[in-house]
């Protein structure tokens, strides 16, 4: 079945896998729309997209890192560190655009440190970013003394809370970032390099691919996206907590995996990851509409991840 379809022109393995993820999403949507009449209404769909946007922002970077054969466990704390530093700049009167760039620069720097330790230091991605997870969180807590930063200018808050033609700005921002990530992955040499480095690092090296720079780029992009996600969040909340972003890495990894990214590297898709984020978002939203207890929501999330992986395994023929 898989083989016959993928032999048709324009049906690559990636698109076949994405179609599968889409079917999963439609099934979930179908079940919830039967159980709850308000599920498939425009305002609620907007809610789902809005609630999924921060995870999607993180997951885009996570997908690129996973494709390169790595993992980034430090995204939540990187988000917290750049959010608190960015918020502090804004409160101190630094112009909003500069403070935003400053926050993103913090994320990029954290990503560079992760990437350099992995690519040049030869350390395991899991361990480096696990260390980063504690380190960046500690820096955020030490810097703020553990208390949230308030007083974020309304000028900035209005960006994150606005909407264009009814579509919330965070959704638009993440959609644009996703488009860029898709172009990078499928249309640029960096995308080819990420796939090659994740698929066979030794082959990539002897083919002349700049393996270390490719890996470092992935972590820097992941850091930048973590910062942008945190900016969206503090814009919506109006405060920057040093504890924000707790467990973000797990949702992002789950979305990437549901979307077809292989933790072995060399495989993954931006479209799939976005669908994965919406699946997780729709599931939580639907269960909340049905007044299902949070404990069961957690259970359902776990089941979805495992079922997605089982289907993946059964259809990939490996």
């Amino acid at each position: 079945m898989n083989n016959i379809l993928t032999k048709l022109p324009f049906v690559s393995n990636v698109r076949f896998r994405d179609a599968g993820t889409l079917v999963g999403l439609l099934l979930i949507a179908l079940v919830f729309s039967i159980l709850s009449p308000s599920f498939l209404t425009m305002p609620n769909i907007g809610n789902i997209l809005q609630q999924s946007s921060i995870n999607a922002c993180i997951a885009l970077g996570m997908t690129l890192v996973i494709i390169s054969g790595g993992i980034d466990l430090s995204v939540g704390p990187v988000a917290a560190l750049s959010a608190t530093l960015g918020a502090a700049m804004m409160v101190a009167g630094v112009p909003v655009p500069i403070a935003m760039l400053g926050a993103i620069a913090v994320g990029v720097s954290c990503g560079f440190v992760n990437g350099a330790l992995i690519a040049w230091g030869g350390l395991q991605p899991f361990i480096v970013t696990l260390g980063g997870l504690s380190l960046y969180r500690a820096l955020a807590l030490i810097y703020t003394g553990g208390t949230p930063i308030f007083g974020i200018p309304s000028e900035f808050r209005s960006i994150a809370n606005g909407a264009v033609m009814g579509v919330p700005t965070p959704v638009i921002i993440v959609a644009i970032l996703a488009l860029i990530a898709w172009v990078v992955l499928t249309k640029t040499p960096l995308g080819e390099y990420l796939m090659a480095v994740g698929g066979n690092p030794e082959a990539a090296r002897v083919a002349g691919v700049p393996v270390s720079l490719t890996k470092i780029s992935a972590y820097m992009i992941s850091g930048a996206l973590a910062s942008i996600a945190s900016l969206i969040l503090i814009g919506r909340l109006g405060a920057a907590e040093p504890t924000l972003g707790n467990l973000w890495e797990l949702d992002a990894i789950a979305a990437s995996a549901i979307g077809g990214a292989s933790l072995m590297g060399g495989r993954g898709s931006i479209v799939g990851t976005l669908l994965g984020c919406v699946i997780l978002g729709a599931l939580r939203n639907g269960l909340t509409l049905l007044n299902v207890q949070a404990f069961y929501q957690l259970l359902a999330t776990g089941i979805i991840i495992i079922v997605a992986m089982l289907i993946d395994r059964a259809t990939s023929g490996k």
Partner: protein
């Protein structure tokens, strides 16, 4: 056709050495290669053949020795450096990214870029079809990742990659090890054709008959050292075999080593 060895060699590797954890994998080995020449590298498993040529292709850094291309000393620190000198390599363990298709592998590290700066997939596939049409006309699986290809098909992708970019110096490390008789014959014909174009080829092969047929000279290695280099017209299969096994040149006493 006899090879004119009066000019400067295309490549000369002089007194090359490298060791791994105290073991001299290659120990003071010198080989050279002239335009249009095929030099066979022979030796037992672990003799150091692959290691020697990996210093030429930029995969390993030598701990001693000097490489000359067209008579000029060169520094080869990375596979990119080697490629800039038009040195192309077909590795023994197929250096392909399994998750990518034939075109992506062929152009890996040297993608065709459209004027807008994007990877030009259509052009890369068209070029891949062209070169594969020449090397392996039966090849059809252009869209599939190379993990879905047979050993021979994968090998033809690896060969296409080396040939496509106008190699002047081609290194083939056991190019036919995974191939059936028909594909092996195809590679032999390709070697003749490339040789006629003036390309110099280092050919590592365990098949002494193939070396006798395809090569102009052969260098034999044993335990990381060079046993000797002989002109193929001057030796027999048995001479080569005894060099490999006994580690001495024909007519030499068995006291060396």
């Amino acid at each position: 056709m006899t090879i004119d060895r009066s000019g400067t060699p295309l490549v000369e590797m002089r007194n090359m050495s490298i060791s791994f954890g105290g073991i001299n994998a290659v120990d003071d080995v010198s080989v050279d290669l002239y335009p249009g020449e095929v030099v066979g590298l022979l030796g037992h498993n672990g003799a150091g053949k692959s290691t020697l040529i990996k210093m030429l292709s930029g995969a390993y850094k030598p701990s001693g020795g000097q490489i000359f291309v067209d008579g000029n000393p060169v520094q080869i620190h990375s596979p990119r450096d080697a490629r800039e000198l038009n040195i192309e390599t077909i590795y023994q363990t197929l250096a392909l990214a399994d998750n990518l298709d034939a075109a992506s592998n062929l152009f890996l590290g040297r993608e065709l870029i459209s004027p807008l700066g994007f990877v030009d997939d259509a052009a890369m596939e068209a070029e891949t079809r062209k070169i594969m049409g020449r090397l392996n006309p039966n090849f059809r699986k252009f869209a599939a990742p190379v993990s879905a290809l047979s050993g021979g098909q994968r090998q033809s992708v690896a060969i296409a990659r080396a040939v496509y970019f106008n190699a002047r110096i081609l290194i083939m490390d056991e190019p036919t090890a995974a191939l059936g008789p028909h594909e092996t014959q195809m590679v032999a014909e390709l070697i003749q054709q490339l040789k006629a174009e003036g390309i110099g080829i280092f050919l590592i092969d365990h098949d002494v008959h193939a070396v006798m047929e395809l090569c102009d000279r052969a260098s034999v290695m044993k335990n990381g050292k060079l046993v000797g280099t002989v002109d193929i017209p001057d030796v027999t299969d048995d001479d080569l075999l005894s060099m490999i096994i006994l580690g001495k040149k024909p007519g030499e006493d068995a006291n060396a080593d």
